[in-house]
């Protein structure tokens, strides 16, 4: 197996917590002890509801927010140690594409300026070379070269996202952080952008960290999926396994949130959801499982003891007491049939290890 490109170990990101007039305020942990691995050429999908810490991981990885503790080994360097920004050698290997293409392109710069700005900072190129590279980048994202002197306000959302991708590709990075790259686009445009991302990855062998909330989309494009809840990575594993055989109750809840095409089944599921405990419960779990307030299968142990990451048959890990051999029945066997995404066709049930 190849060496990982990125290995995040026990990463914690804390916001706030400054001392104010001698009073120490306790910060909020947006990410708590997260572990993630991305191999070269691999796409890791990171899912979770808003506020789960997905974007905090992205921002930390991009050096926009400092890591509080833990390690982020990227291509031989520990990024978590670099509190004062990354050196250029690291920076050019990690690029980003953000969610809203209407806000992520500087409105007062031409397409050429946007696409070549990374080259100006990180590469010594002549003006003519940069221009040629800009034209080449636009071709890569299927936009005509004639767009170079135009301004972002002249483009549609999909075109703008292509421009953002072209800028991210400019330095031939090893990793691109895609923070909800298609959720602001309409469905027909989403497909084009996803196909473009595919094509570029296969052509260059770079890796993606794909942050999204749409599990079906993430399953479609990712090799592995990690699921976050309240700053914890509650489940991680090969995309097919996580999607078809979720081991953690929260992953299952996320999959259940995808509406079903059959109205009868959808009605039954909605009734089951209404019967579940309310979701508006305290979000700060000091001890115990972070998901225990919302978990329909929480046991006493969940209140007192934080679950460890346990291996899941079929690959990956999940942080759930119910997976322990000595524990009660694993969640996969207790769930109602058909409670999966529309793409799942009676997947094999997972047996307790």
């Amino acid at each position: 197996m190849t060496d990982p490109l990125l290995q995040i170990e026990d990463l914690t990101v804390t916001y706030g917590g400054r001392s104010l007039l001698g009073l120490k305020t306790r910060g909020v942990d947006a990410v708590k002890g997260a572990n993630l691995t991305i191999r070269p050429g691999e796409t890791l999908g990171l899912v979770g509801e808003s506020g789960s810490g997905k974007s905090s991981i992205a921002n930390t990885l991009l050096g926009l927010v400092p890591a509080s503790s833990g390690r982020m080994m990227f291509d031989g360097t520990d990024l978590a140690q670099m509190k004062d920004g990354y050196p250029d050698v690291v920076r050019r290997k990690i690029q980003a594409v953000f969610q809203d293409p209407y806000s992520s392109l500087n409105p007062s710069m031409t397409v050429e300026q946007i696409v070549t700005e990374p080259l100006k900072i990180h590469a010594t190129m002549t003006r003519a070379d940069r221009r040629a590279r800009a034209a080449e980048l636009l071709r890569m994202v299927n936009l005509p070269e004639t767009h170079l002197p135009r301004y972002p306000n002249e483009f549609s959302g999909g075109q703008r996202q292509r421009i953002a991708i072209a800028a991210a590709l400019a330095l031939q990075p090893k990793l691109i952080v895609l923070d909800e790259p298609v959720s602001a686009l309409d469905v027909s445009t989403q497909n084009q952008i996803i196909n473009l991302l595919y094509e570029r990855r296969d052509a260059t062998g770079m890796s993606y960290l794909l942050i999204a909330h749409d599990l079906a989309l993430v399953h479609h494009i990712s090799d592995r999926i990690a699921v976050m809840y309240l700053g914890h990575i509650v489940e991680e594993g090969p995309a097919d396994r996580v999607y078809h055989q979720p081991a953690h109750p929260y992953t299952r809840a996320l999959l259940d949130a995808v509406p079903l095409l059959d109205p009868e089944r959808q009605r039954a599921r909605r009734a089951a959801r209404r019967a579940a405990p309310p979701t508006d419960l305290p979000r700060i779990a000091v001890q115990g499982c972070p998901y225990r307030h919302r978990c329909p299968r929480a046991i006493d142990r969940c209140r007192s003891e934080s679950p460890r990451a346990l291996a899941v048959p079929g690959g990956g890990t999940a942080e759930c007491h119910l997976l322990e051999p000595s524990g009660t029945t694993p969640p996969a066997q207790q769930t109602t049939p058909g409670a999966k995404g529309p793409a799942s066709n009676t997947p094999p049930r997972k047996e307790p290890a």
């Binding site: 926009l64 809203d100 992520s104 710069m109």
Partner: protein, 314 residues
């Protein structure tokens, strides 16, 4: 861009006509007779009529207006009722003082306003931000003529760093010009910079939250490049609009502050003209000030088009 300038210049023509008709009407509607002021109570009725005839006040309103307009187009704004000075000459003579004061205060306003606004926006809720907000509130609350008096009494009368009154033309003595203009420009500029600082702060805070700032940082741009090249340029779009109003306000403020510092600018000329009902002089001053304001607005539109691609005509 040339098309835009052409359009703006054409649009100025009807506006100037309207302004000239309005000021002409207002002065014609004045209840008192300027002739009384010129010859005083002792003049006979014949003398009175002679003067009226000489000044052309007996002609119908429309004739007088068209007459005046015909000459104004050629650059002749008439002659003062009270001395044989040509209005154009009088205004042009006083203009440099007023314009120096206005533009020096614009400069102070922009430097202080931008500096304070950007510093406040970069660290919201820090002491710099609080200080800037507090200063802006004070600056907006203090009347500029009063602030001018305070500055004069401290820096001119007590400390004697600057002259308390008077204006030295730039061509005569550049250092003297600078010294003579510093206090009045500070009085005007600092109070206006307050409004500008607020505008810059809010525009800058808004821009800094945009994803393209995050994207620029993620690309590894230096903070300086992110702030000045990416953020400030976009934050300036609303600021330029405010600034164009501010320049107009500063021009008006200059007329008042001139009085405090006894600067012989347009302000004293205008006040004297109004007091004496020197109709051609009032006309001329208003028209020329309107031209200056229009020039400022044209310049604003050009700058706006340069920094905001959306405002450019396709």
């Amino acid at each position: 861009m040339i098309k835009l300038v052409g359009q703006r210049l054409l649009a100025m023509v009807p506006l100037l006509l309207i302004v000239s008709i309005l000021t002409f009407s207002f002065t014609a509607l004045l209840p008192s007779d300027p002739v009384d002021l010129i010859i005083g109570d002792r003049g006979s009725n014949e003398q009175h009529e002679q003067v009226r005839e000489r000044l052309g006040l007996n002609d119908p309103f429309v004739t007088r207006y068209l007459d005046w307009l015909g000459r104004a187009v050629q650059g002749d704004l008439g002659t003062s009722f009270f001395n044989s000075v040509r209005v154009t000459d009088a205004v042009l003579l006083r203009m440099p003082a007023t314009l120096s004061l206005t533009f020096a205060s614009v400069l102070i306003s922009v430097v202080v306003g931008l500096g304070a606004g950007v510093a406040a926006a970069l660290r919201p809720r820090s002491w710099i931000d609080r200080l800037a907000t507090f200063g802006a509130t004070i600056g907006q609350a203090i009347p500029n003529f009063w602030f001018g008096l305070i500055l004069a009494s401290v820096f001119a009368v007590t400390l004697r760093w600057f002259p308390a009154t008077g204006y030295v033309p730039l061509g005569e003595n550049p250092l003297g010009w600078l010294l003579s203009i510093t206090l009045p420009a500070l009085a005007l500029g600092l109070s206006t910079s307050a409004a500008l600082a607020r505008q810059v702060r809010s525009a800058m805070v808004g821009v800094l939250q945009q994803d393209y700032i995050r994207a620029a940082r993620a690309q590894g741009l230096s903070s300086r490049r992110v702030i000045f090249r990416h953020a400030l340029k976009n934050a300036l779009v609303p600021v330029v609009t405010v600034l164009s109003f501010q320049i107009t306000v500063l021009l008006g403020g200059a007329l008042i502050v001139e009085q405090v510092y006894a600067i012989n600018g347009i302000g004293s000329l205008a006040i004297a003209a109004v007091r004496q009902q020197d109709i051609p002089m009032i006309q001329g001053i208003v028209l020329i000030l309107v031209l200056v304001v229009m020039g400022v607005q044209l310049a604003t539109d050009i700058v706006y088009g340069l920094i905001n691609p959306k405002a450019r005509p396709a």
